[in-house]
């Protein structure tokens, strides 16, 4: 009687308290970050200029009200969102394809996988600088040089409005595609056998297996990879700053760049933080939506 009660109490502790205890170390580590966040949030409600501390005043939503109607903000918002959606969609689709490629057994698979990860091993700043050198439109640019071998005309990769958008996408994809592929590869390697056995018994074809077995099982990982990429694509900064600095003609000025210019170039902390908080809100929204999809996909998988 005693033992059963003890076990029941133990189980209640396990169910009620233990999860929180397990989460505690992680939460504690991140708790320290709350102060900087709230400080940044507070600054966004002030007109804090680093150089003019005597002007410091709490001004409520004025920063936000000032920037929202500006056409430059609206463009930045559209560009940030549009870029993120296109980039994530492209990277997930292509990333899935590559993951499937690397999932098969073939000679040299290990080396190829490690090699394929290499773009992730370069810091985004250096990647951007190297690509900038390769994409030069002067005769020193290797990319245009290669194009000329195929008889193709040179492209003004970073110096013209529209091509620069594509170039940023190329640089970003080159650096981050392995990320998506690796997550999906890990997912592929973790899938259970049973559904496949069942499908084979049912006589399903290759494509059918892919569409009705592999894809649904992979969904949580696809959405997870998409979420991380979305968070990073919305906030892409280093690549743009190192190549076009927001140009040409403000074409690649996304919200993060705007925040940077206000906060770190013009020392207008208040407005910079306002942009940063707006961007944060955007990331929050996107992740919220994607996480809801993740939950649904994860539930379906564990069924």
């Amino acid at each position: 009687m005693q033992a059963a009660a003890g076990r029941a109490r133990g189980r209640r502790w396990e169910e009620r308290v233990l999860p929180y205890m397990l989460l505690l170390p992680g939460l504690l580590l991140l708790a320290g970050m709350l102060y900087p966040f709230f400080l940044g949030l507070y600054y966004s409600f002030t007109n804090y200029y680093l150089q003019y501390p005597h002007l410091f005043k709490f001004i409520g939503l004025q920063n936000y009200l000032k920037l929202l109607p500006e056409p430059k903000f609206i463009y930045s918002l559209k560009f940030t969102l549009g870029y993120a959606i296109v980039a994530v969609a492209l990277q997930v689709v292509v990333g899935l394809g590559v993951a499937l490629l690397l999932h098969r057994r073939f000679v040299g698979r290990g080396v190829l996988r490690a090699m394929f990860l290499m773009p992730l091993m370069m810091p985004p700043v250096i990647t951007a600088l190297m690509w900038k050198v390769m994409m030069a439109s002067t005769k020193a640019g290797i990319l245009n040089h290669c194009l000329s071998f195929f008889g193709l005309p040179p492209v003004n990769w970073l110096g013209d409005v529209n091509p620069s958008l594509v170039s940023i996408l190329i640089i970003d994809t080159w650096g981050n595609l392995p990320f998506v592929s690796l997550i999906l590869l890990g997912g592929l390697q973790s899938l259970p056998y049973e559904p496949y056995e069942a499908a084979l018994v049912d006589g399903a074809s290759g494509w059918g297996i892919f569409r009705y077995v592999t894809l649904p099982l992979l969904k949580p990982f696809i959405i997870l990879a998409a979420t991380f990429r979305m968070m990073d694509a919305l906030r892409i900064f280093d690549v743009i700053y190192a190549t076009t600095v927001g140009g040409p003609a403000d074409a690649t000025m996304n919200l993060h760049m705007r925040a940077f210019f206000f906060a770190f170039q013009w020392y207008h902390m208040g407005m910079g933080m306002a942009y940063a908080m707006l961007l944060l809100g955007l990331v929050f929204l996107a992740s919220f939506i994607l996480m809801a999809y993740w939950r649904r996909a994860a539930e379906q998988v564990t069924l």
Partner: protein, 296 residues
Amino acid sequence: MNPQRSHASSVFPVVARGLRASVFALGIFLVVVWTVFPFAWILLTSLKQPLDVIAAPPKIVFSPTIDNYLGIFIGKQRGQYASTRPDFPRFFLNSIMISCGAVLLSFLAGVPASYALARFQFRFKEHLAFLFMSFRFAPFIAFLIPLYILFQRVGLYNTYSGLILAYQLISLPFTVWMLRSFFMEVPIEVEEAAKIDGCSWWGVLTKVILPLSVPGMAVTLILGFMFCWNAFNYPLMLAGRQTFPVTVGAIQFISYEEVLWGQMAAASLVAVVPQLILSLFVQKYIVRGLTMGAVR
């Protein structure tokens, strides 16, 4: 057709085996070219003298030199001033210490957290999970100056521990969510079996979940390590010369009157080596079949 092969060959819906093989080969070829081309360029640049680096049209054939590599390690440069005590080896060491420490800490805190989120039902579960994710939302701008102020005040500025803590912003949410997803993939029957055998939550974690999630943990480890290694903006602000990692170090080749592209390329390639070693070592754990069939 055994399930393992069908699993793998469900990739291509094409019928003919020959066509499938050539499509596959083409895919691999494209992947290799796309990945390797910029690295080939960086490698060539690291072997070039300054004159060849800026040459127009670009030079594929040139007389190589290892001066750039010598320059970053022992400061010897041809016809140039010799910097005192090139800092590159120290930056390299810093990167190793900080990245390893950050990933270790993330795993120590992340494994229990992911386990809780994956296997337990409790109030606020999804809220807390989302909270973990939310620390990765903020653009670094929002954090940089407040973090700088905070670190200076509590004496964490320019320290390994400070940077390792700051890096948790980058790696902990990622670790938690990745491990959560992989833990959830472990078949519930195995766990039930272990529990019937009398395992506590700790036993289930160490004997069932962790061994069966090795591929996932390997992936999380590699990616987490790379994220930490390649962070730039945080260490720029929160570290001093003694603790700069290689990412900040590599940018130092931009001088006021010239850019030492050769040395920058050399430094970047050398910085790739630890990550490459780690990947080669860990990728063999990203193999299915190591753990499947445990139920039977």
